[in-house]
Symmetry: C2
Subunit: 137 residues, 2 copies
Amino acid sequence: MKTYSIGEVAKELNLSIYTLRYYDKEGLMPFVERNENGTRRFKESDISALHIIECLKSTGMPIKEIKHFIDWCAEGDATLQHRYDMFLERKASVEAKIKELQQTMEVIDHKCSYYKTALDAGTEDVHKGKKIEIVNP
Amino acid sequence: MKTYSIGEVAKELNLSIYTLRYYDKEGLMPFVERNENGTRRFKESDISALHIIECLKSTGMPIKEIKHFIDWCAEGDATLQHRYDMFLERKASVEAKIKELQQTMEVIDHKCSYYKTALDAGTEDVHKGKKIEIVNP
DNA sequence: GTAATCCCTATAGTTAACTCTAGGTCAAGA
DNA sequence: TCTTGACCTAGAGTTAACTATAGGGATTAC
């Protein structure tokens, strides 16, 4: 079975070798095997697991919580409910985050047109007399 | 003109007093005035500025960069282009982040149904034989 | 008039997530 | 043979963004 070195995996996942070793130290990759010299050899399935870890990271999940999930995976069917609940929770959290970013977007869009107008006029004074935005950002 | 204490502002923005003082120390609120005892008194316009700061923070902008923006605001019309460019950049960054989260969402949704099926079957084995997902997360 | 509650500064401590260094092993190429 | 480059561990250092503490001043409530 084809395996990959830590350097190859780092390149593929756009992570540093340091980061991968750090994840390993934190218990995020107990499934990665070593060869006779103690060198890590990553299987394809290890790389998919790392993709899931990256996915969870991008939901804002801290590494310690991701470790719980990894531990549950090793414990088998008894933890299925935990894992399901965890993904439902992640789903809710990502939905909330997207909503928040969409609201942020509205403010940013507003500021873009605010500055576009000001820039065209050569001065922010064009916005004088409108609500508050005279003095501060 | 009505003003607010740091405690009131903290409550309104859902930040700790520590955080607000930290922002002040970092130069994010040079516009907030003090009374004769040295106590901060926040104007309405200061609070709107803080809302913008929170908005920028939620785009993932680090505090040091937010400070640049605040400095530009104080410098006046000469920095309009910088500020416009900055908001365009924030816009792009938020768009990218939303896209990333939407992709994350697809993976999470997939995992949710994966675990739903496993849970209904009482074992993860129902997914055996499908691609890789037998051993790892 | 004193105790509680708010505010202040300066400075130290915390946490997460890396990032790097030192010192070492091992295999391949010149 | 020897040196280059990839890997290893243990542990120190870094950075951002808070968070807390110590020590002190002003206002209000009883």
